[in-house]
Amino acid sequence: MIPSLPDSKFLTRGRAVYVTLFFLFLLLPLSVVAVFAFNNSLFPTPPWKGFTFDWFIAHTDDRTGLFFDTALLTSIWVSCKVAFWVTVLSVTIGTGNAFLLERAQFPGKSILTTMMLVPLVIPGVILGISILSFASQIANFAYDQWELELEWLRPGLPLVVAGQFSYIVTIATLTIAARLKRFDESLEEAALNLGASRFAILRTITLPYLKPAIIGSGAVAFLLSFENFNTTLMLVGSDNPLTVLMYGRMREGASPVLNAVSLLLMMVSGIAVALMYFRKPRQK
């Protein structure tokens, strides 16, 4: 119960034990992944055979560390490219959407607002499948009609970007709109009275105010794109992003290299989250 109410010792202890167990449960899988990235064995399972950095830096016949695993490195690069485009598109269009939601008045606004939330409740697999079939139908039609081969509508990275964008833009929109809602419009009016143009106001007042939300939603979009699996799996062509490659290797039987990549991912996203987290107090 709340601190102002008397709690029996039994209850306080019981809760402490439960919460501790809960967090152990939460962190257990991540810990084993991290620990077994350093196991000197071909398998990421017990027994523990000693500490090694092999799964990062080895370059021998039976062991290829993460930094020499060309397929892995390529897939990380592919994921970065995809995430870059998803981020740019989501943040740009998300900012526009935020202005639509918070500022504009037009017929059908409530329908549009609801529609913008819909991508969040469509399962990722279905999102991917529907875009795949839609794109293929157009590509087939173009080919049958005019013998035109529209390569970018076939499974591949452009479709992966489209699929991830289709729901990540909703999240960017909501984040930026939430900040725009708290914006004091009298600032803009004051600038307008002082003779500033609409564009100058946007550039010097409104956008700088939105900057934290824009950067934040950009970071979130990048991470979400990077770790997306469900939608991506349906839309990939020959270039595999990291998640799809890791999935393939996991099915063949895990190796400690996968743990090494996972550890790297955890560290990178941990640092990204920490940066976002520590930025916040300064902005207020």
């Binding site: 109410l5 449960f25 257990l28 279905i126 289709s166 469900n230 998640t243 996991m250 743990n259």
Partner: protein, 289 residues
Amino acid sequence: MNGLSPKKLTLYLLLAPAILWLLLLIVLPHTGMGIISLRERVGPGEFAFSFKQYMTFFEEPLYWNTFVRTAVMSLIATVLALVLAFPVAWTIAKVAKGRMKALMLAATLLPFWASELVRTLGWLILLRGSGVIPGFFQMIGLTNEPVELLYHDATILVGLVYSSLLFMLVPLINALETLDDSLIEAAYDLGGNRFDILRRIVIPHAAPGIAAGCIMVFMLTLGNYLTPVVLGGKSSMWFTEQIYTQFITRFNWEQGAAFAFLLLGLSSLLVWAGLKITGQRFADAMRRT
């Protein structure tokens, strides 16, 4: 004035990408999928309108069973997530203070930022026959031979609950934080016991958060692909797997589209029912998360 005023022009410039996004990536693809699901291949490149795909679903027990199983397991996972997360959300929102609270919040977020694949890999290492937990059981003498903990329904449930806990915790914490402590104090002074307070004050107040959390978890679980397939192996019988098989492996788009539509219908129906029962509005519930 000829043409558009700057204000109108801005509006159209903002509306165009939004409408293109929703039309090209959401509305038309799903409409197209609906049309595909309602046709039957009668000859090479020739199609006729029919309900055959949906009939196949109802006539073939495998598909039907997988569908029901997916729904039931998702419901169980949602309830488990709620029961597991509630005390923790309470502790974070009401009991913990200052740095402890920040630390707990960070610990909750951490697994979420590690990709779903990493989390699943962790469970794989923990649970597989040669893994950490069977090894531990053997070490303390609980079993003589390594036990295979993968490929059970309970394993799938653990994985599903694990990967969706955050989506339960965050709305619950948000809802509980807005609850005024003095309400509980008042109830306590008036002689209410803990159970009464929970039932008549805390839960009604947290209802929007509970609804939002349950909807998110249910949606994510129903549409999950990775966790059931990896932890459940060949016998996972998850419906998204059926959709994948029809579309990608068998290239039977008509059947796959029908399956996708059934899953979409099921999730929409249950979300709608959930919102109706708790008196929530879709937009409010979604913005909460």
